[in-house]
Amino acid sequence: MGSLLAPALLATEAHAESPEFPILTALIVIPALGALALALTPASRPELSRLVGVGMSLVTGAMSVYLMTQFVIDEPGFQETSKHSWIESFGISWNLGVDGISLFLVVLTGILFPLALIGVKPHHDTKSYMAWLLLLEAGCMGVFLALDLFLFFVAFEIVLVPMYFLIGGWGYGERVYAALKFFLFTMLGSAFMLVSIIALAFLHERATGVLTFDLVEIAEAQALAETTARWLFLGFAVAFAVKCPIFPLHTWLPDAHTQAPTAGSVILAGVMLKLGTYGFVRFGLYLFPEAATWAAPVLVTLGVIGIIYGAIVAAVQRDLKRLVAYSSVAHLGFIVLGTFAFTSQGLQGGVLQMVNHGISTGALFLLLGMLYERRHTYEIASLRGLQRAAPVMAAVFTVVMMSSIGLPGLNGFVGEFLILIGSFPTRRWWAVVATFGVVLAAVYLLWAYQRVFHGDPDDENATFADMTWREGAVMAPLLALIVFLGVFPRPVLERIEPAVGRLITHIEERSDFTEPAVTRQGTGAVEVVGPAAVEEEGAEEAEEAGAETGGEGEG
């Protein structure tokens, strides 16, 4: 569908006033064109298909990185926006934009896709495989960039189709069952969201006289009655909760992961789960601030249940992929907690953790794929002592595992820490329970590592081959990111901060919620570095609230 739109859009683009290169449109169109081009390549030449697929994804990745360099740090609003009327009579437009919240998810998408494409070779039908993945990339980019509700919905739905076929066509064992389960779960959620979107647009029209699907316009107008907003929020929430997935809607995930081909798992965990959490931040909180604060206790509770429950269930899994799938339930629980804490740290940590989880879990699934290529099993019991035979892979696995466990100095910790310290002021007891999740994360991952890599290898595992150069080259950027983001997350955080700050102000203005101001209790005159200075302006007016916090400590 994306590819069908392309020509029309490019034509519109020509009329646009801005002579600048429409980079956001290109991020969607290029992979879509790539998919189209692949459809034209002969199926008999898989290496050509591979070249086109990898090439297109690399171009997209390079552009996403370029976008990051062009991003203006202190601008809290949307950047690089491009808006073109699409279905005028309904006020639907091709409306794209990027801000600190979506920027790194776009970059993550741009980076993970080529790695997944390079890292894993399909066992048959390279052409369709590549085409589906490129279409998937276009869809994911569309979700993160869309500022039009209808466009967002289209992209949100589009991604289901390639993923369905990837699982069904290149997956394992019970792939058809898993693919259908995945499809039906998410379709069910989406149906609620579609209803909400349409109702929202029409209710907005009734109140303001303008029929539009423009996210910003609708969100800023806030023309809904309180109860209505809550119902519509729930419609969105169901779709996002399935996608995340939030307990108890998570049961499609282990099946989908287990049966999906490696690249599918990488993208599913790395990018597609974030469609849910991103949806909450971008649409849930922005469109329905009051409803979000109203529903927060429930969502936070479910998130925390997910953290503990996911970890416990992960611990006793016998299949590595299922184990990582359940670990995702736990990790996404953290993100939900951070998001609905509505504090600067919590939300920033949540956004950062979306990226971190994409990197760590993407890397984990890539490693599992390499493991599978050698041993043709994901079953923990049949693997043993691999560290003896493959020390390099074991070392890489250890780093990725430690990142997932949340070891300080690696990326996972920063996000987790911000989420917990950010939810502590507003959701104290939830944060306390969630903190125990870090113990459980160590339990299931270290135990799995012990059973797979430690011990004396038996005959079947003794000849396990270590990583190849190609595999090393795929893992290297991910490892670099794991360390870099753990040591120096500032470039990322300072880009996320303004957008998050704006969102919190938006929520505060439109609900009873006030972010508790946590400031240094002393004589003041603290040198504040970078974007934190923005917050500092508000510090004075927030002093009353600060006194409240102090009082809580004294109590």
Binding site: K181, L194, T343, S344, G455, L493, V518, T549
Partner: protein, 673 residues
Amino acid sequence: MLDAVWLIPALPLLGFAILVLGNRRIGEPWAGWLATLMIAGSFVAGAVTFAGLVERPEEERQHVYRVFTWVAAGGLDVDLGFLVDPLSMTMVLFVTGVGTLIHLYSIGYMHGDPGFHRFFAYLNLFAFSMLMLVLGDNLLVTFLGWEGVGACSYLLISFWFTSEANASAGKKAFVTNRIGDVGFMLAMFLSFVTLGTLSYVNGDGTGILENAAALSVAAATGIALLAFVGACGKSAQLPLFVWLPDAMAGPTPVSALIHAATMVTSGVYLLTRLSPVLLQAEDWVPTLIAVVGAATALFAATVAVAQRDIKKVLAYSTVSQLGYMFLAVGSGAYVAAVFHMITHAFFKALLFLGAGSVIHGLHEEQDMRRMGALKRFMPITAATFIVGWLAIAGVPPFAGFWSKDEILLYAYAKHPVLWAVGLVTALLTAFYMSRQVFMVFFGEPRWGGAVDGEHALHEDAPGESEAPSAEVAAAQAADHDGSAGAADHAGHGGVTPHESPWTMFVPLLVLAGLAVVGGGLNLPFEGTHFLADWLHPVVEATEAEIDVSDGTKVALAGVAVVAALLGIAAAALVYLRHRIDARRVEPDVLLQAWHYDQAISAFVGGPGRAGAEAAATADRTGIDGAVNGVATLVRNGGDRLRVVQTGLVRSYALSIAAGAVGLLAYFVVRTGI
């Protein structure tokens, strides 16, 4: 000069990076020398910084060096920075000093190991983490080191990973530590919401240490308790000590460095660092710390009495000595705690390295019942071990006497019962250490097949031995046979003990020297309280004031010496003169450590595991079944949809579009457009 502080952790980190990137290309022995050089450089940088600090007047001995902003979000602003003050520099010097000696020792000990370079990479990473821990200028950097040392501990305990026991011990250490770390994390959160900062010192009066008095008693109590939970995990106090005895599965230098001298003292460091918060907390918090410390000290000492593995005795002894340090912290004797931490680092590292030398000389034998009379074969090891023994037993004028005496003094001032527990522990300590020395170095030789009932030995102590892979042992053995330094073991019917190479015994000699004179750091005489004076700016407001007459002090010291001598004499009766059957003083319940660990394992492995399995089953059947409507739909729809699945993409796109259009139409009609 103080700004050179960044070099202190940077050098070991550099060493780690080089060793990782060089991998096998930097083989033996260069990997070892490189790592040793890095930590030695770190020691020099530490000494330079120390000198810079000494030059300053006392009230200016506090310097913060910020490298860059690490994590900043909203009102949270955490730098990667270092705090140079008397406490951190004291820690730096003994960590890098003892660390250098142990690195050097490891070059000999790990000789011939296929993972030689990996070992030294881990050691350097550990040194880096430990230095971050003690140098960090805020709780988060300390936590970085805190978790870092835990991870290195995990990597090093399971270093010989082919053995399941080692792998399990590593995992157990990490997980148990993490339980404590939850406490640490919550302490950070609480400190953030109450003080708005994680920094110890901000320079404007807002840092945790500067501003602790502004904390409410409730908040201070909370932070102190949570930090104490963290400290219990890392420093192996009741009830979280269980990982430390198992950690002996790691190579012996690791036991000496991480599980005796440095990492396990982190908890004591943390509580000393946060002493202003402890002061602000409810009075029962320090009391609780003292009680837990005393209880741990006594508990572990009773267990050490019956252990047979040479390293297990030292492991429980370490737990017990750490208990002393917590007793000191709880009694407000921060200087004594740090003093004992240092002397303990000297003599316990010495004892562990000596034990390693014995194990090495006997070809990986760890059961003390298969040792004996080794002083003839390993004179240097024996002599240095005996120094360590006298030091830990509290015999004057060795280092341990002075530091232990000071702790007992403060404990007495806090409450006589605490003192009594400490005294009994001192007696037991003298007893079990003497037992060890007599069993290992004196009496009849029982090695080389001289012992009977070999089978029974292993039945008694399942999975207790260090057990590196057979390959490693063989490689080491083979190598020693070939090397000139190795003595005469012609291999007739067993092993002949031999003295270790110079890289191993030089550290022993140095540490033995320190174990003799270490007490000089802080003698209880007029004008000789060097450590107390040095640490004065840090603990000025928090150190307890005690009111004990000089006569009482002398009497207390005298009683302690008598207790030590009694312990030694009792052990001599049993193990040297054999007047009493040893089996009567080694009840099984003590050998099994009061069955505490087994109970936990049984619970985790039994009901705990079963519960998790039940959750997993419920997830498959219950929760999946709760959405059974969907599942049925899948099954029924499966056949029909399979037709679609065979090819037509458009059907899918179409069905989505049709659904969308249908809903759209519905709304259009409803809203009447």
